[in-house]
């Protein structure tokens, strides 16, 4: 029973981290209609930025990380301007392939700049674990989980209630209609990329706090993609909830099934969810259903 509860709790925490990364997919998709497969690499770029601002530049950890979030927003803007803005109006395949190219370019670039070696990542969030009843919880992940919930609620309100957020939603629905109302598609895409890249950097800070950093951390991006799909690419709250579902599923699989499957089950779980979802409910749990009208 205890191991079940423990699996549930740590699954929820990891899941909320997935949820945060999924949010960065969602934010970009909502405004720019781009599934950026390179989101993990954007996260990696954010992670390297945090490392540069803190350990390399010697700034206090929290200040440096805060600055790094701003710098990451800038990286997002640059990617949008150089790669995706010229592709506005192109077929989806073109855009997806561009994001695949971006994966390779970003990995290559960081390999070139930072080298292949693994380096320590600053302890952005406090280390250690704490006891809650029978459960042992990772402190950094718990703080991250709270942050994720706060960010989710803030983003949800932003998209639904503020003028700027509604503009982004309008662009997400239809570029031509948004343009016809004087809403700038470019500006919306730029805002979305800045936000999305910043969220990735925040996720990096939680994910890597006190751990090691190298090019391979980008892999978490692809693990979070099924989460974004499960929640529905347009749904902010859906992303977070789906994160918890996938996180818990993965953690249960790792507790109960991995020993029978040589550790494979927890690895493939998110992707099994993704395939099943594509078959049953392609728009995800809370995504925008295509409204058919006669």
């Amino acid at each position: 029973m205890n191991s079940f509860l423990q699996a549930l709790a740590s699954g929820t925490l990891t899941g909320l981290l997935y949820g945060l990364i999924a949010l960065s997919f969602v934010v970009i998709y909502r405004a720019a209609r781009i599934v950026n497969l390179a989101q993990g690499e954007v996260l990696m770029a954010g992670a390297f930025t945090i490392w540069m601002m803190t350990l390399a530049a010697g700034l206090p950890t929290l200040l440096g990380s805060g600055l790094a979030l701003l710098a990451a927003a800038l990286i997002g803007l640059v990617i949008e301007r150089l790669v995706f803005r010229p592709l506005i109006g192109r077929p989806t395949t073109t855009i997806v392939l561009a994001s695949v190219a971006l994966i390779i370019v970003l990995r290559g670039a960081s390999q070139m700049v930072f080298g292949p070696e693994t380096r320590p990542f600053p302890q952005v969030l406090p280390a250690g674990a704490f006891k809650l009843g029978p459960l042992h919880l990772n402190l950094a992940l718990t703080i991250g989980a709270v942050l994720t919930l706060v960010v989710t609620e803030a983003l949800h309100r932003f998209f639904m209630n503020t003028k700027a957020g509604l503009r982004l939603s309008a662009v997400a629905e239809d570029h031509m209609t948004a343009l016809s109302m004087g809403i700038s598609v470019r500006r919306s895409a730029a805002i979305a990329w800045a936000l999305g890249a910043s969220l990735s950097a925040l996720a990096a800070a939680i994910y890597l706090s006190g751990a090691a950093l190298d090019v391979s951390v980008a892999g978490i991006g692809l693990r979070a993609l099924p989460v974004a799909l499960l929640g529905g690419m347009e749904s902010v709250r859906g992303a977070t909830l789906a994160g918890v579902l996938v996180g818990v599923g993965e953690s249960l699989a790792s507790t109960y099934l991995d020993r029978h499957t040589s550790g494979a089950m927890s690895q493939v779980f998110p992707f099994l969810v993704m395939i099943a979802l594509m078959l049953i409910r392609p728009q995800g749990l809370f995504g925008w259903k295509v409204i058919e009208r006669v």
Binding site: G89, M160, K163, L166, R167, S169, A170, E173, D174, H175, M176, T177, L179, S180, M181, G182, I183, S184, E234, W288, I291, R293
Partner: protein, 279 residues
């Protein structure tokens, strides 16, 4: 255009919108509009008739600068709004200048609520009091919307969507409203309601409109002027009242035969050839 040009054009006497020999091409090669001349006077409703693919929507999008997203551009002539050249601008600028287009196909933001759609109409309005007043004015114009505010816009009926679209456009406080087939796919009763509302808006606010319509009869009833376009050329224009009584228009746009029998296809072709000459 230089600053002196702007000053030289009297702001009041000239028509609100003037198209002078406008040419539009897509991808730089496919020419769709050929030397289109057209005027929308202040405070008047102008209806724009023509068959499918004649260039009506293209003309509207040329005016509202929405061609670029489809790789189109105004390649010749000029579009003057209040004496200012506005062709090929940023669409956001055009909206701010006071030209708002309601696209065809009932493009509500279907996943947002009616309220959120209306608030998007107010996205340029920074004064809360004005925003509230304008919103109230729209709800007074279309009381049916009042009970639907929290409804997801994608699930409204066709007529309700059209009311929402007109409201959303009005909230942007246009000086010229471009409407692309507002009556498409609506029941006759709703068409009358929508056109009644448009006429009322025109009367009460003096808002000029350029209306693209297939439903020529309803449109000609509220319009002051009419233009007919075919194959990218204006082939006929005049006062709406004259157009209503014009034999050719009655035959081909209103479906009212002059004689007892329908005209044959040969006559149709003849008619088209003859109209070229008129253009």
């Amino acid at each position: 255009m230089t600053a002196t040009d702007v000053v030289a054009t009297p702001a009041t006497g000239a028509p609100l919108l003037q198209l002078k020999n406008v040419e539009v091409a897509f991808n730089g090669v496919i020419q769709v509009l050929h030397s289109v001349n057209m005027e929308v006077p202040r405070g008047k409703i102008v209806v724009f008739l023509g068959g499918n693919g004649a260039g009506k929507t293209t003309t509207l999008k040329a005016i509202s600068s929405l061609l670029a997203i489809d790789d189109g551009a105004v390649t010749g002539g000029g579009i003057l709004f209040d004496g200012q050249e506005i062709a090929n601008r940023d669409p956001a600028q055009t909206v701010r200048a006071g030209i708002v287009q309601v696209l065809e196909g009932r493009k509500v933001f279907g996943h947002l609520t009616v309220e959120q759609n209306l608030r998007l109409g107010l996205h340029l309005c920074s004064d809360r009091a004005i925003a509230e007043r304008e919103r109230e004015r729209c709800l007074e114009l279309f009381p049916a919307l009042r009970g639907l505010l929290e409804r997801q816009a994608g699930y409204l009926s066709g007529g309700e969507m059209q009311m929402l679209l007109v409201s959303r456009a009005l909230l942007l406080q246009p000086r010229l409203l471009l409407l692309d087939e507002p009556s498409m796919g609506l029941a006759p009763l709703l068409v009358r309601q929508i056109f009644g509302a448009l006429a009322r808006i025109n009367r009460e606010r003096g808002l000029a409109m350029l209306l693209v319509e297939q439903n020529a009869r309803a449109a000609l009833e509220i319009a002051d002027h009419a233009y007919i376009i075919e194959n990218g050329r204006i082939v006929m224009h005049g006062a709406a009242a004259d157009m209503r009584n014009n034999e050719d228009i009655r035959e081909f746009y209103l479906g009212l035969s002059v004689g007892r029998e329908k005209k044959s296809f040969r006559d149709v072709k003849h008619y088209k050839r003859r109209k070229r000459w008129l253009g």
